[in-house]
């Protein structure tokens, strides 16, 4: 059996790397970041807080307690919505930074090398 030479693979490696780093990996990274963001939206119940905003707390149905239930629910949910908006914004900023850092990392290396050698 003729085994492939490692050198053949090594010659192909730089092109493979560039394709992976700038095309394949960013797509996967975007999927991961999107999943994390959606997971946060889901786990913080962002949508549910809006859709149940005027529903009584714990579905209270007993006469005389419904209004209080609605008030308590709206009060807690308002604070939670504010918290969610802040947390999700922060998360978005962090994710955008990570994505940009991924794309820029090889250039950062080149700049650093340039700085080390020519300055």
């Amino acid at each position: 059996m003729n085994a492939p030479a490692v050198s053949v693979y090594l010659i192909r490696l730089p092109a493979e790397f560039l394709q992976w780093w700038f095309l394949e990996a960013p797509v996967t990274l975007l999927k991961i970041l999107r999943f994390i963001f959606e997971a946060a939206v889901h786990l913080f119940s962002f949508k549910l807080l809006f859709t149940t905003y005027f529903k009584p707390w714990k579905n209270e149905y007993r006469e005389g307690l419904v209004r209080t239930g609605i008030f308590i629910g709206a009060f807690i949910k308002t604070w939670l919505i504010l918290f969610d908006v802040a947390a999700l914004t922060a998360l978005f900023v962090v994710e955008a930074t990570i994505f940009a850092a991924w794309l820029l990392l090889p250039f950062v290396v080149i700049i650093l090398l340039y700085g080390a050698i020519f300055t």
């Binding site: 490696l13 959606e38 997971a39 889901h42 149940t52 807690i76 290396v109 080390a116």
Partner: protein, 818 residues
């Protein structure tokens, strides 16, 4: 034409690189570089020269980037899918399989290839579950004859491809190479043959291995976010269920805490049906019907698990599955209190909005419990309006008796019948259950043990269904094996347990038992005089039952014994029961003369509904239900009403009898013997006329059909019809000899030795024999004369412990000498 050309294959090129990059030498260098870079970075950071720090930092980042690239790209290189007309087969190997091929010294040497494979945990799992060890394989391949030490690797590759396709996969991995190697190498083939592992078995083991090691192959980001569990506000969206929690078990909570797991395999169709019903607008109530052990609760657990994982439709996602505890609900409830409890519970559940209620054995709420309480009326409104989502379970029989008659209540549910899974599906369910059994009992369960558990439970636990009965059998055997401090649960352990439970020999007949089976005729003749045809027919049937696998569910054997009274018909049945079931107690004797009228069939299969005895079931069917491993002796069959005879046709044909409640009584593990005196006089005359036995039997059967004693369809269903001939004088003396020998054996237990003159035997035979009743009165005669006299002598002290007595005849009287 497909070629295998690794030199031009991308995956093999990657494999070459990985083999080099992960070699010990390069791994050591990589570690060294990493450590050096960390040290240099720390040192340069503290120094004042920025250029050096930048240089080292950029080298470190390049190194870091390359390691990411190696792990995320190179190591995850995927194969091209297998397809028709593929040019290079090497492109369709997994990276791991390619690495294995590249590192194997001699691919044409089975020992070398297997040696490489055996380094893989998946391969080891497969061979261990096939009850083979790595040492066993190595020893076998090393000692193989030279002619078997060569392998055509090209053929092995094609075989590996075929295995991959057979498994429904589109690339070849190490397990496919293992399967191909086993298939190509004669030594390995023989080994698996010895272990009784067939192709379907090995595929099942591989399926098990993949499920165990690979599980769900998806990356976390490819799964829906709902699988992470409910959001923080989900809990607040549902109402309080404080009252309900008093009378229910929270399945969702149990599963989230890891106290329960679903073990649900397959059942996709039923799950889809349940989901559809529970998600619709009205009558969102399902009733799962099936016998105990079929997997009704497993389906509910499966739904609970999927609901937690957010894998169900919106109407069922993140619901709380509460199992109603009927005992707690009914316990201590005074008049009116039960209704109040139920009312509170329904109100809570309606407003909670996030609960799926599971009611096990719903017949208990519909009058089927011991208290007879029927609270269906209170449930109907909630059920009909779709305010609740309910999954209930019941058996078909209980449904027919308690739920169906309550039309409105029954209509509120969508009944879904659960079918028993096939043996292969049951094996796969057991594979899921095995890890739990293994860790609980600290043992290893082989694949053959799983298979035996399914096959033997199917054959011997006929009143229950798969997979429940096989799981229980495996669990019980595991406990027994663990107590014996054994580490491996093998098929023989299951066989031993089944034999202990049923008293039926299950293991393959070897050694003493094989010898006994070979000499069955002689053993039966120790109790039965002459009747050669009967002895040979029964011995053959028994040998067949113990050696050759039965295909049908028919009884082990069914025979009709025809002949006069007292010629040994019943004795033969008893001897057979003692031989096959281990005891004469296993004979269920039914006097068919008690079934002469048409309505006697009620006693056989049970009284019709509406009568007081309906609940009791049939006298006959109940006996068989409680003793499914027995010899059924139907005495004086000719006296039974023709309709009763007809009722036995399905028993003889299919081994199944349906009682009046619709319950199936299975005769698969019984031997059925019907006896009849019909035509006794005809037999006697024919024997006296020296008519050959073959002709006699033919004429007798014609006569019995002509006289409508038995219908042809009844006679045709027996495995054998045996004619017993009247006993001759010589044979009667032999019978007396057997009876006296039996008495002598009993006396010997009291240390009294009895010997008798041949004259005594002839005297008893002459005096005790009655041509009408055959040899039957002989036993009574011996009791009245020989035993009676010995008893008197013992009371008078003449015969005592240690006495040696000899009996003879003088003046037509029995006399004893000491």
């Amino acid at each position: 034409m497909e070629q295998f050309s690794p030199s031009t294959s991308r995956i093999f090129a990657a494999a070459s690189f990985v083999n080099l990059y992960s070699s010990i030498f390069l791994v050591a260098i990589r570690i060294l570089i990493a450590v050096s870079l960390v040290i240099l970075l720390t040192v340069s950071y503290t120094s004042s020269i920025n250029q050096i720090f930048y240089l080292i930092f950029s080298i470190a980042v390049v190194f870091f980037i390359f390691e990411i690239f190696y792990r995320e790209k190179v190591l995850k290189e995927t194969a091209l899918p297998l397809k028709q007309g593929q040019v290079n087969l090497a492109d369709s190997f997994s990276l791991e399989a390619a690495r294995l091929i590249l590192t194997t010294g001699n691919l044409n040497d089975p020992a070398s290839l297997m040696g490489s494979l055996l380094n893989n945990p998946k391969v080891l799992f497969v061979i261990n579950k096939a009850d083979v060890t790595a040492e066993e394989i190595n020893k076998l391949l090393d000692s193989a004859p030279a002619s078997n030490k060569q392998l055509n690797f090209a053929t092995t590759l094609l075989a590996a491809r075929n295995w991959a396709l057979k498994e429904g996969r589109n690339f070849i991995d190490k397990l496919d190479i293992l399967l191909a190697l086993i298939n190509q190498d004669q030594e390995l083939k023989n080994l698996l043959f010895q272990k009784e592992i067939k192709e379907a078995d090995i595929l099942n083991i591989v399926y098990w291995t993949r499920a165990w090691f690979e599980g769900d192959n998806k990356h976390f980001w490819e799964k829906p976010v709902e699988t992470l569990g409910p959001g923080m506000a989900e809990f607040w969206a549902g109402g309080w269920t404080l009252e309900t929690e008093k009378y229910s078990i929270d399945l969702t909570k149990q599963m989230q805490e890891g106290r329960e797991s679903s073990m649900l395999v397959g059942r996709e169709k039923e799950l889809e049906q349940v989901e559809e019903v529970l998600a619709r607008g009205e009558k969102r109530n399902v009733l799962l019907l099936g016998p105990p052990g079929i997997g009704k609760t497993t389906i509910i657990r499966g739904l609970t698990e999927r609901s937690i994982q957010g894998l169900l439709p919106e109407a069922l996602k993140y619901k709380r599955f509460l199992e109603i505890d009927v005992t707690a609900l009914l316990a201590g409830a005074a008049s009116g209190e039960l209704e109040q409890r139920l009312q509170n519970l329904l109100e809570e559940l309606t407003h909670a909005g996030n609960v799926v209620l599971f009611i096990p054995e719903i017949e208990n709420l519909a009058g089927g419990s011991g208290t007879g309480a029927n609270i269906t009326g209170h449930l109907i409104n909630s059920l009909e309006q779709g305010r609740l989502q309910v999954i209930a379970t019941s058996t078909r029989e209980a449904y027919r008796r308690f739920i169906e008659p309550q039309g409105t209540f029954a209509a509120a549910f969508e009944p879904i019948d659960l079918e028993e899974p096939s043996e292969n599906e049951a094996i796969r369910v057991l594979e899921q259950a095995v890890p739990g059994i293994e860790s609980k009992n600290k043992i290893i369960v082989t694949y053959k043990a799983i298979q035996s558990s399914v096959a033997l439970s199917q054959r011997y636990m006929v009143d229950r269904v798969l997979p429940g009965k096989a799981i229980d059998l495996l669990d019980e055997t595991a406990a027994a094996v663990s107590m014996k401090q054994k580490k491996l649960l093998e098929p023989s352990d299951i066989e031993t347990l089944i034999s202990q439970k049923t008293k039926i020999p299950v293991k393959e007949a070897v050694g003493e038992e094989a010898k006994k089976l070979t000499n069955l005729e002689a053993i039966l003749h120790q109790r039965i005089i002459d009747q050669e045809e009967a002895i040979v027919t029964l011995a053959n049937a028994l040998r067949r039952a113990r050696t050759i696998e039965r295909e049908t569910k028919r009884p082990i054997g069914s025979f009709l014994f025809l002949g006069p009274t007292g010629v040994g018909k019943t004795e033969t049945a008893k001897a057979l029961a003692a031989l096959y079931f281990g005891s004469e107690e296993s004979v269920i004797r039914i006097n068919m003369s008690e079934y002469q009228s048409t309505d006697s069939i009620n006693r056989l299969i049970g009284a019709p509904p509406g009568t007081g005895e309906y609940e009791e079931g049939g006298e006959f069917t109940e006996k068989i239900r409680h003793n499914p491993y027995s010899l059924v002796l139907l005495d004086e069959m000719e006296k039974a009403h023709p309709k009763v005879q007809e009722a036995f046709l399905p028993v003889l044909d299919e081994g199944v009898f349906e009682d009046v409640t619709g319950r199936k009584i299975v005769f698969t593990n019984t031997i059925i013997i019907a006896t009849s005196n019909a035509g006794a006089e005809f037999i006697r005359e024919s024997i006296q006329g020296h008519i050959p036995m073959e002709n006699l039997k033919k004429s007798l059967l014609e006569k019995l059909q002509r006289e409508a004693v038995f219908k042809p369809e009844f006679l045709n269903r027996f495995d054998g019809i045996i004619v017993y001939k009247p006993l001759s004088e010589v044979e009667i003396v032999q019978v007396v000899g057997l009876l006296v020998k039996e008495l002598a054996a009993r006396l010997q237990k009291q240390d009294i030795s009895l010997t008798v003159d041949p004259q005594v035997l002839s005297w008893i035979a002459k005096s005790g024999f009655d041509p009408t009743y055959g040899a039957r009165p002989l036993r009574r005669f011996i009791a009245d004369n020989l035993e009676e006299k010995i008893a008197k002598e013992m009371l008078s002290g003449k015969i005592k412990r240690g006495s040696k007595i000899k009996a003879t005849v003088q003046n037509n009287q029995l006399v004893f000498y000491s």
